[in-house]
Symmetry: C2
Subunit: 117 residues, 2 copies
Amino acid sequence: MTTKAIADDVVAMSKAGNIEGIGPKYWADDIVSIEAMDGPMGRIEGRAGVDAKGEWWSGAHEIHGAETHGPWVNGDQFSVRWVMDVTQKDSGTRLTIDEIALYTVRDGKIVEEKFFY
Amino acid sequence: MTTKAIADDVVAMSKAGNIEGIGPKYWADDIVSIEAMDGPMGRIEGRAGVDAKGEWWSGAHEIHGAETHGPWVNGDQFSVRWVMDVTQKDSGTRLTIDEIALYTVRDGKIVEEKFFY
């Protein structure tokens, strides 16, 4: 698959409410996930760790609504903009998350995801 | 300056209509500009070439309106979303350009700009 085809499918899956299906379908075994923070959550390497992070995030947040914008593509990379209305379950704080995800593709799999806030 | 401070200033300059001031203020001498295309315009290295590209672009398009969204920051990189209503002067075609620009910062200067469509 081309980067453009993967990008379109990721956005379509997200809009269809199937965000959880993206990882099993597209993450490479050696995927690296990079957040805009220091500490152990700032950079996670490998499917097991990234899966665990996703499970933690889903458990820690209630999602009231989400918009997916994009994708925007250049070469082996594409960007998606997510705008999510969520409540952090621990604190009860409701907030809007507006972020850009930058994905890097190799051999039809996502090898890096990097989040910008 | 931090990446965040540069990102905020780039967005503020753009919203104030001073896009042309960004290059002189922030581009490194060895800046690389990467478009989502093959050919000589796909990758331009150095201030002189990037300046010439900017002059060509400004001359070839009439801008009717522009929105600037962001910035989104992670480490030494930040993203901006531009939505522009333009007419290509040669063809007379009016179109909306919706793109993500990914900037990489080193020593307070932008060393790479990469555009996603």
